[in-house]
């Protein structure tokens, strides 16, 4: 492989590239419909579009690879002058991992769980004979250092499950770069990450891409991320290029309607006072659902009354009728566990839950059917939550029968009514889940919860797996349903901007404890809990240069996520907090500072010190 790297040389280009699925009758379902673009050395080109736009399929063409069932049906995909779309597997093998390398969305799934990290990182160059094992090891070590991984000398000896998600994502970058590729293909490499982790990973990616002088194709649906990392943007819709140009032009002056919709779907962080004021007409004396001093965790409950693996400590949360409470925090902070405690799936080891002021049994078995009806759960993955062998009619009809919510209607009428509520055509009742798109499935998932006429719906990351525009539509639907039915939502998400766009109240969880809670606009404006501040400042803004600024000004340089652990005493954020007071914060539980209007910050610093 030649390593003369002329800047400006075209590394990869497609000419009228067509990719499709050949049906049994010989006809073709075309996924990519004639695409022309190129990537020059030292350049990062972003492919942006929603799922189904063909962006991943196009990016994989650079490796001469199509997902099972698809094939190249026309045009060219030239990598360093060679048309990889027409090469055999044996011809492609020496190119893959050495000339062109791939980074997938989920590092956790991309690393083989049974092989040590270093072997996987160094495998490609050693196998293709471009490096000896010793050279590859040395290169890997350089990359671990450049990617700011902890213990670079020994981290390669570990198995994938022994490192954190953010570290694994960076290790995947090392795996891709170890063979000194001319072209990197990055497929949504930060989408699954928390904002605080994403910022670290983006920084690391940008740095190594520059240092290595490689070209890169960056696939994403997130324009704010594109603004940080790309030089040029190609906007895809339905397998066609809709718009292409330098990143600042696309961001500041999107021309195509689809690009404009993408820009509009980015929810900016709310300014102070922006929190939506939903009506109070549904309010009653007691909150719809209230948790008092909840402790919960996994494993057997020990003699001290605590679970073997404690997850939540001393949680006090109230959900008012007809309101939405957003629960945010990084992965592993106990958001989903809290929802499971509410639903009775995981009995709390301590504390009480009240429904309409009436004490609820901690576990499912002790609750009456009426109580079960009132609290419903919507899971993140509609794909796995809907039985693939049941028609939508049966999926929605079962809870209608079980809870008897047809109320004078026939079951069929009630199912139709539910479909109307979630804005789906009535004929969908006779379809199976796999015949629906991701957003449609999520609507069915929601309708199933609504079939019970619930008072509280626990939404666990319901928009996280959806595209920006589809997610925005689902949130508009939630808002409308709430206005009409007075249902309360507990909306769990790691995505601060989604939560802030429509929650009335926000609860910020960190390592199983509430760091801050209150009305949305108050929580997201000063004074901040230091952790909330870290979260707020980590949400990428859709403008060029934000990443560099954030890296400079971000007070929490110690913010790199890693050991998020529930501590026995004191504030769990102590280890990462830029304003921690040693000897106090790590020993004494933080006091609850009352900023008025129900805004509570759990911190040892005073409100004035926190920016009030």
């Amino acid at each position: 492989m030649t390593n003369e790297r002329n800047p400006g040389e075209v590394v990869f280009e497609t000419r009228d590239l067509k990719i499709g699925a050949i049906q049994q009758d010989g006809s073709e379902i075309r996924i990519v419909k004639g695409v022309d673009f190129n990537v020059r050395r030292g350049e990062v080109v972003a492919l942006i579009g929603e799922s189904g736009s063909g962006k991943t399929t196009i990016s994989l063409s650079a490796l001469g690879y199509t997902k099972p069932g698809l094939s190249f049906t026309g045009g060219e995909a030239r990598l360093l002058g060679q048309d990889v779309s027409k090469m055999s597997v044996d011809e492609l093998r020496p190119l893959r991992g050495v000339s062109v390398a791939y980074l997938a969305q989920s590092a956790a799934a991309t690393f083989n769980p049974s092989i040590r990290i270093n072997e996987q990182v160094t495998e490609a160059p050693v196998l293709h004979g471009t490096k000896t094992q010793a050279e590859a090891d040395a290169k890997a070590l350089d990359l671990y250092r450049a990617l700011e991984l902890p213990n670079p000398e020994t981290i390669g000896e570990r198995y994938p499950h022994q490192v954190s998600g953010g570290q694994l994502q960076r290790l995947m970058a090392a795996m891709a770069l170890c063979g000194d590729p001319e072209l990197l293909v990055l497929d949504e490499p930060t989408t699954a990450l928390d904002v605080t982790t994403q910022i670290e990973v983006l920084k690391a990616f940008k740095k190594v891409i520059q240092e290595e002088g490689a070209a890169a194709i960056y696939v994403t649906h997130d324009l704010a991320v594109v603004a940080q990392i790309a030089d040029r943007v190609v906007v895809l819709y339905n397998g066609e290029i809709k718009e292409a140009g330098p990143v600042h032009e696309i961001i500041t002056n999107p021309v195509h309607p689809y690009t404009r919709r993408l820009m509009a779907a980015i929810r900016p962080m709310p300014e102070a006072g922006q929190g939506e004021d939903s009506s109070d007409e549904h309010l009653r004396a007691d909150p719809a659902l209230q948790a008092r001093s909840i402790d919960a965790g996994y494993g057997p409950i020990g003699s001290n009354g605590k679970a073997a693996i404690p997850v939540l400590r001393d949680i006090d949360v109230a959900i008012e009728r007809g309101k939405t409470v957003g629960i945010i925090g990084e992965s592993g902070c106990g958001k989903s566990t809290l929802a499971r405690v509410f639903a009775g799936l995981l009995p709390a080891s301590n504390g009480e839950i009240y429904l309409d002021g009436e004490r609820l049994s901690p576990d499912l078995a002790g609750r009456t059917r009426e109580q079960l009806r009132k609290v419903q759960f919507v899971y993140q993955m509609a794909d796995t939550a809907l039985n693939p062998r049941h028609r939508i009619r049966d999926i929605l009809g079962r809870p209608v029968d079980f809870y008897g919510t047809a109320e004078g209607m026939t079951r069929r009428q009630r199912v139709d009514q539910l479909l109307e509520m979630v804005e789906l055509p009535l004929q969908f009742a006779d379809r199976y889940p796999h015949e629906l798109s991701g957003g449609q499935k999520q609507r069915v998932n929601l309708a199933r919860a609504l079939a019970a006429n619930p008072e509280i719906v626990l939404c666990d990351e319901v928009t996280s797996a959806l595209d920006t525009i589809v997610a925005a539509n689902v949130i508009a639907l939630l808002t409308r349903l709430q206005r009409e039915t007075g249902v309360s939502f507990v909306f769990i998400s790691h995505d601060l901007s989604t939560v802030s766009s429509f929650a009335d109240e926000v609860v910020v969880l960190y390592a199983g404890m509430v760091a801050e809670q209150g009305p949305t606009d108050r929580v997201l404006s000063p004074p901040f809990h230091p952790y909330t501040q870290l979260l707020v400042s980590s949400v990428p803004e859709p403008r060029v240069g934000w990443l560099e600024e954030a890296a400079q000004t971000r007070e929490a340089k110690a913010g790199a996520s890693g050991g998020v652990q529930l501590t026995e005493t004191g504030c769990p954020f102590f280890a990462r907090c830029p304003v921690a007071i040693p000897g106090t914060c790590d020993v004494v539980d933080p006091p609850k500072l009352d900023d008025g209007a129900g805004h509570i910050i759990d911190c040892h610093r005073s409100l004035t010190e926190l920016g009030g």
Partner: protein, 316 residues
């Protein structure tokens, strides 16, 4: 992981105890009196009573059970009711036959079957894969005596190699002599276990082959062989060892048709004889041996599955 293994051993011991209770009291429920059977129909009531006392049959059931269990643990399986000799003597020769046939079948049949299943997974949908799938499904449907008959027809009558039945003693025979001694039973049994092993190992590997880390390996340009043997197989060991263990247990306990067909005495025919002659003591002893075989093999499979899982081997 040590904790997990100890737990499994504990569960295994509990299983063996539970089975021992079922076997012991199950044979007690059956009609017939051990002393009466042993002495025959002509025995006087006084003789029977004396025999009952000698055998401890006059004691409460739970005391009999504890004595029986203690004797079993120390290797004393009791005296056969039908033939008046120690059970251990009855079993000894047959156990040797069964162990030799099972081990040889395992040594030959298991690796071949696994290789076939894994290579089929390398080329799913190919002609090779389809022929193999068809053959193994056919074999699953074919009863053992049918397979055995076909083999005898082919080797003994058409090709004139070997004997239709197993004749002679195994004394002093070497490894390859033993293989030729038991050639046809081994071949029959290999076919019987092959179908399940091929299909399960193919399914286990194919299941892993659809995971993202295999796609990643393809995109790194890793050759097919290395993808299967380095990347996929490690993650498919758990289900494969379980199927292997179940099939090995079957080889020890369930090969009655094959033993009868080729006329070599093994454990499976022995237990049938025990049932025919209402030899409770023999049934109890063999029942426990079969139970132990299952529990030990499954225990080994579990430990192998644990050991192949890096999450258990190297906790965080």
């Amino acid at each position: 992981m040590t904790g997990l293994i100890l737990r499994r051993i504990g569960i295994g011991l509990i299983t063996v105890l539970a089975v021992s209770i079922i076997i012991f009291f199950g044979t007690k429920i059956l009609p017939g009196d051990a002393a009466q059977i042993r002495l025959g129909q002509q025995a006087t009531p006084e003789n029977v009573a004396a025999m009952r006392e000698r055998l401890g049959l006059d004691k409460p059931y739970w005391q009999q059970y504890l004595t029986w269990l203690k004797n079993f643990v120390t290797g004393d399986l009791g005296i056969s009711l039908a033939s008046d000799v120690p059970i251990t003597n009855l079993i000894a020769d047959r156990y040797k036959n069964t162990v030799i046939v099972s081990c040889l079948t395992a040594l030959i049949g298991v690796p071949i079957s696994l290789m076939l299943g894994i290579t089929a997974a390398m080329f799913p949908g190919s002609l090779y894969d389809r022929v193999l799938t068809f053959t193994s499904v056919t074999l699953v449907a074919a009863p053992e005596f049918f397979t055995a008959t076909l083999l005898v027809l082919l080797f003994v009558f058409a090709l004139d190699i070997g004997n239709a039945v197993v004749v002679g003693s195994t004394e002093g025979k070497g490894f390859f002599e033993l293989i030729s001694h038991f050639a046809l039973p081994i071949a029959t049994l290999s076919f019987v276990i092959a179908s399940q092993l091929i299909r399960m190992s193919r399914a286990a590997v194919l299941n892993v082959m659809s995971s993202p880390y295999i796609e990643m390996a393809i995109l790194k340009g890793v050759p097919r062989g290395r993808i299967i043997f380095r990347h996929a197989l490690l993650n498919a060991i758990g289900p494969i060892v379980n199927v292997v263990a179940l099939n090995l247990a079957y080889l020890v306990t369930g090969v009655i048709v094959v033993e009868v067909y080729f006329a070599y005495p093994g454990l499976a025919t022995l237990i049938v004889q025990g049932v025919q002659s209402r030899d409770f003591v023999l049934i109890q002893g063999l029942g426990m041996i079969f139970c132990l075989t299952y529990v030990i093999l499954m225990l080994i499979a579990d430990i192998a599955a644990f050991a192949s899982n890096p999450r258990l081997r190297h906790p965080k």
